[in-house]
Subunit: 340 residues, 2 copies
């Protein structure tokens, strides 16, 4: 299956053509020091003339590295997270890798078969490290990768777990400061629309909401909670439900900007003005937050930093050989706009 381009020139042929040794050609294509300028140019001309492209399989075999890392997504997330979050993360990871010469490969793992196949691929040495998108609690993949001693970094913690490297945003703090902001504005009937509560991030945001109320001495109050799945549609439904349950509601923290956008629609439909009657806060601060009407106050997730941190941790592990687990929790920040 799949004969490769036959007769592709080899490094050896380039060496002959340039009248130098293999070692020298190798040094040139790897930009290594210690080659006279004139020699280097000669080799480069030979490469040009022959249309030489290094064979990556041979390079991997000899060099014992793949110069590639995988970003693995499991089915559930990449559907619901799909839109902005996913694409933003991929972009920021791509940016963080641009000048490392490392290829970013996305892989979908939707079934046990595919998980197994990916594992063989990874253990077979086709990637030097693995990035995992929001892994669900029961997924055995992180452990399997650890067993294979493959450098691995998770995006987002799973509950409490420490024996794995991860990068996460301070969801608790973000939610807390959002709710505090509402309280400072004099709002008193504050509800929250959560994400799917089997996701640790969603649990954290809920916790932050509760903590802020507690800090304000409102512990006695009932917590007003509706669950969503991060989509606009579910946000609309959840908001409608909250309006019904708490007619005097005057503030809402949504699970994401998308959810908040849905909530805004529901509020409009119910004739409530934002922010006069009800203040709304989103989460994420993707571009959507600036296109809503009114523009959304939201908790900014530092996507760019998350991507950079993930790559940094992964590279460190690749360097040192996965001897320690690293955790980075990035600060979130409230961005105040017109909806509060």
């Amino acid at each position: 299956m799949g004969k490769r381009r036959p007769g592709a020139p080899t490094l050896e042929e380039v060496a002959v053509h340039a009248r130098v040794g293999r070692g020298t050609v190798s040094r040139v294509i790897n930009n290594a020091a210690g080659v006279k300028d004139s020699t280097r140019r000669a080799v480069q001309r030979a490469i040009e003339e022959l249309g030489y492209v290094p064979n990556l399989a041979a390079r991997s075999l000899a060099g014992r590295r793949a110069d590639a890392v995988a970003l693995v997504m499991t089915e559930p997330d990449w559907r619901q997270f799909a839109e902005p979050f996913f694409s933003e993360i991929v972009r920021s990871l791509g940016d963080a890798l641009t000048d490392t010469g490392i290829q970013l490969l996305l892989t979908l793992v939707r079934s046990d078969t595919e998980r197994q196949r990916f594992l063989e691929y990874a253990r077979g040495g086709r990637v030097d490290g693995v990035l995992l998108m929001s892994v669900h609690a029961g997924d055995p993949l992180p452990d399997m990768l650890a067993e294979a001693r493959l450098p691995t970094v998770l995006l987002g913690r799973r509950s409490g777990e420490e024996y794995v490297s991860y990068v996460d945003a301070d969801n608790i703090g973000g939610a807390r400061s959002a709710v505090s902001h509402l309280l400072r504005q004099g709002r008193r009937v504050i509800a929250t629309i959560t994400g799917p509560l089997d996701l640790y991030a969603a649990q954290c945001r809920l916790r932050g909401y509760e903590e802020a109320l507690a800090m304000a001495g409102l512990e006695g109050e009932p917590t007003r909670v509706a669950e969503s799945d991060f989509t606009a549609e579910s946000g609309r439904r959840a908001m409608a439900e909250l309006i019904e349950r708490y007619p005097d509601i005057d503030g809402v923290l949504a699970a994401s900007d998308t959810t908040a956008a849905g909530a805004l629609e529901a509020l409009r439909a119910a004739g409530r003005r934002v922010p006069e009657d009800v203040a709304v806060i989103g989460f994420d601060d993707f571009s959507l937050a600036q296109r809503t009407e009114p523009r959304l106050t939201t908790v900014r997730q530092p996507i760019e930093e998350i991507g950079r941190a993930m790559i940094r941790l992964l590279l460190e592990e690749m360097e040192e050989g996965a001897v320690a687990w690293r955790h980075v929790i990035l600060r979130t920040e409230l961005v105040v706009r017109e909806s509060t």
Copy 2:
């Protein structure tokens, strides 16, 4: 950068452990015939005991193939196409590959640098073939891949181009039959919401719309067209615009189900009943079409078949070495539900 797990067992070690030759172990892990059952079992036990995993770099080097294909997306599409179309395609490609032992790798190409890097990766032999998502007209990637003699299959044609293999749906026919359906229902003021018209698929759907009107002898009529970018939001806007321009509108063909969903909202907001006042037809038949209110009549794209066809063409090219261009145009089908 990135030392690989040191001391991973090699095929040689397995051979020693099982007291057989390297050849035999190779035959076992490749499921090749000509190994006595008892021997095979012994080897498998040795593999088990040593936790042996084949080194894919060595296998690629010796076997001259990568057992992987890349699915390349360029920035523009994977944002706007994003949601259902993209995920459905990936799913169907994944399914079509499951029992070939070939890994599907997604790659994002967002800049010239990344295009170049991917090309090196592909020409370096890390993949045996390339699948391209809806490539835009000016993209040089297909030609570069052809030059490198890498088997390549496009999803969706670019205008008229023939010197490349592709799989596409019959967009013209689909749009035509949708509009004919509306005409048969006695609708006379029929508009269309197109996709971005720099996309050939969108042009084709528009052409189908025009052809159906022409076939019905309505050529004199003005064509009623508004452009969208496939999102629900743009569908809503386009629909609102059409209502204003053609108050007596009684039928609409939308660019996609998502667009149609937006159009439904705009119609509801304008107090038009569907299908009594205005009939709406979508395009794609993704699951969304069954969740709208009313459920959407739509032109079904055979995603499953598209995925299978792409893989089939690619495997054929990989087998024969990219000597011919193959084209497959798949029939679309009108699925009538409640919105007409």
